[in-house]
Symmetry: C2
Subunit: 96 residues, 2 copies
Amino acid sequence: MYILVSYDISTNSAAGKRRLRTAAKICLNYGQRVQNSVFECEVDEGQYLQLKHQLHEVIDESVDNLRFYRLGKHYKKTVESIGVDKRYDIEGPLIL
Amino acid sequence: MYILVSYDISTNSAAGKRRLRTAAKICLNYGQRVQNSVFECEVDEGQYLQLKHQLHEVIDESVDNLRFYRLGKHYKKTVESIGVDKRYDIEGPLIL
């Protein structure tokens, strides 16, 4: 299934900047970055639980926010992007 | 229908900061901010076209990115938020 993960992480402190880097690395293990703090992940239920748990361990709930959206199977037909698109097609050919 | 709007707007210049403020104002006309650059909007097809057009007019496509996701009717049951939640329930009671 496809999941959209977005986060707001307070970077007012060095610790916040570290949380931001760590959160990004975790998300990149499960999917691709489409905007600075937005990721599209293709995961099964087990991986989804793992992803949520790992991110939950990283953030400071008093100042940060994580949001997870279950995107439908056909979300690719419905998502629209305007402007510089950082997304690459997970199932597309990997050109080395 | 429910739409998720997220944007990456380059704020390296004064113009970029202006674009960011304007984009946020436009999105707030159609829905609520759930994270700094993420909004949940309840719109019909006409309003959705208007929202996209207004935002498209504002951004600099060479450096900014807009993403629109159609969330299903029942997205509220599937979205999960961890940490500081800026969201308020559109249909909930407005306490003055």
